[in-house]
Amino acid sequence: METKLEQREAMIESVNARIRERVQRIEAMPAIPAVFLPLLKMLSEPAKEVGLDEVVRLISYDNSIAAQCMRVASSPLFGLTHAPTSIKSAVISLGLRRVETILLTCCLGQAFPAKKWALDPVVFWRHSMGCALVCRKLSEKLHAGDAETAYMGGLLHDIGFMVNCLAFPDEFLLAMRQAMQEEVTLDAAELATMGFTHCDTGRALAEKWELSPDLIEIIAHHHAVEQSQRSQPLVALVHLSDLLCRTRGLGYGYYERLRVDLTSDPAWAVLLKAQRELGQLDLVRFSFELDEAVAEICELVCAVLGPAPARA
């Protein structure tokens, strides 16, 4: 006789199989620029093994993406005062890793064009970009390893919402409605209506894309840091940044009845254990500074989602 645990595991496996099957069918997915997957692969390799020329060559295949990247790179949020004139000059001023993340940001913006979705893509991208920037900032402040990996984690952590929109449009619409009506969190509404969340669907896409194990971990466990098996501090960092964004005007476009006591969150203890500097962080000031960046983040999202400039 099957035990309850076995039954539960069988049920979870059948849900996961369903998710995987639908994710496989996302092939009809909007045009992901051709450079996207090679770029992803490059990002998972150590920086020193990736050559500048290789990146420039890759990007030169697609002028419109390149031009869009120049626009994004000129945002003060990426640390340049003047718009770079070429990919090469952007790499020289910003560093290879950062340019790669900017390119990925643009590719993703192209991959999921605005359509009638349960979750407004503009709102979604504001949250994701905001979270990416908060992750990077926090990671830099705490000297917590590669800040660009943290950025990618923030950018992709909610990618499961996009999968939901594409692969489970009707089910997710119900979840979204419930969340808005009851002002509860989206993951709670997803669980109540669909039985699984964007963490599950996001993980399926991340595995399909063969993202790095760190990124898969973030996508799968950013709502339950204690369940993550590896890179726990990084998952905790994304979790905390996500909460900060949702309380500072970069949420999902509706009022969530959130009460966030960051320093009492289990993720705080996980991150603090790895990065003692966290104890010195002035959270109020960090929040005020995030408020200041919100307008610029919104502009940046317009640059990423807006039409690419005409091909040169």
Binding site: P76, L77, G79, L80, T81, L133, K137, K141, E183, L243, L244, R246, T247, R248, G249, G251, Y255, E256, R257, L258, R259, V260, D261, L262, T263, S264, D282, L283, V284, R285, F286, S287, F288, E289, L290, D291, E292, A293, E296
Partner: protein, 301 residues
């Protein structure tokens, strides 16, 4: 002082950033360190205006000279107080901070009601400390009345509103407001809770006033503050600015002990308790922050 450069999200120049002398960012950081008040980038011009007025009076010419005056001059502490007064000159109106009201009604009230539901007397006590001319107190009262048929059915709500200034307290009691004070008040609230007095003014209705008791109180008067026990929520917005470091600390400690366990303390939207009290927990709500005195059941004390 390089704090701002290290911490800001956008360290380089945007159009707004280019317009202000970078010294004002240093002054902003100093003000934050001393008072917990943060002037956001888009409000830096207000700080610059305040500095300009002070610079005229103390007869210094450039922002750089004024920075020296604030940091190296024998009268620097006094000057910083003067500057703080200059940049926080009170303007207040009803419904000034919707995120605070949302947090109060949607998150905090359900929590407190659930926590106190086992108690015999269902009583909610709110203190509006430094109520000035009553705008905040009436806003709170109207919002509580909105909940009187729902969450707060069967509850008694008491709002204690205090201010140091007798004239302000008298004005508050009258509850007469013109367009300026009512500019963020919706027609719904105007119709439901106000009566027209003349073409220019509306007066708060008696059923709202009934919830509030206004009185004069000096927050530095320790013996009187002791009587303000048993609060569930305290609002003290844009008041602590007028206190020096040690007295501010003392007042905050009073607020902490006057709050019930599980109670909340709100400051003005750009204020914070930086380095003032270790016992309060900082809590984020959408668009606002508050300080929480941990409940006995939370195990966080």
């Amino acid at each position: 002082m390089t704090l701002a450069r290290q911490t800001a999200f956008t360290p380089t120049a945007s159009p707004i950033r280019q317009a202000v002398d970078p010294v004002y960012r240093q002054i902003r950081d100093l003000v934050y360190k001393v008072s917990g008040i943060y002037k956001a980038e888009e409000k830096l011009y207000l700080l610059a205006d305040g500095c300009a007025r002070r610079m005229k009076l103390v007869k210094v010419r450039t922002a750089r000279d004024y920075w020296d005056h604030l940091t190296a001059h024998p009268s620097r502490d006094g000057e910083l107080r003067q500057l703080l007064n200059e940049i926080t000159i009170g303007e207040t109106y009803l419904f000034r901070s919707p995120p605070q009201l949302d947090a109060l009604r949607k998150v905090i009230l359900p929590e407190i009601v659930a926590e106190k539901t086992k108690q015999v007397t269902k009583r909610l006590r709110i203190w509006s400390a430094g109520c000035s001319t009553g705008e905040e107190s009436y806003t709170l009262a109207m919002n509580m009345l909105e909940e009187s048929d729902r969450l707060l059915k069967g509850w008694t709500v008491e709002i204690l509103a205090t201010d140091l200034n007798d004239n302000s307290v008298e004005t508050a009691k009258a509850g007469l407001y013109g367009d300026y004070a009512l500019r963020a008040t919706t027609d719904y609230f105007k119709r439901k809770y106000f009566s027209p007095v003349d073409e220019k003014k509306l007066q708060v209705r008696p059923e709202v006033k009934k919830l509030i008791s206004f009185s004069r109180l000096n927050l530095q008067d320790d013996s009187k503050i002791l009587f303000m026990k048993g609060m569930d929520i305290i609002f003290c917005c844009n008041v602590l600015i007028y206190f020096d470091g040690p007295s501010k600390s003392k007042v905050i400690n009073h607020f902490f002990s006057n709050l019930n366990f599980g109670g909340y303390f709100f400051l003005g939207t750009s204020e914070s308790l930086v380095n003032l009290n270790e016992q309060f927990h900082l809590v984020h709500f959408p668009g606002t922050i508050a300080y929480w005195k941990p409940s006995l059941s939370s195990g966080k004390l």
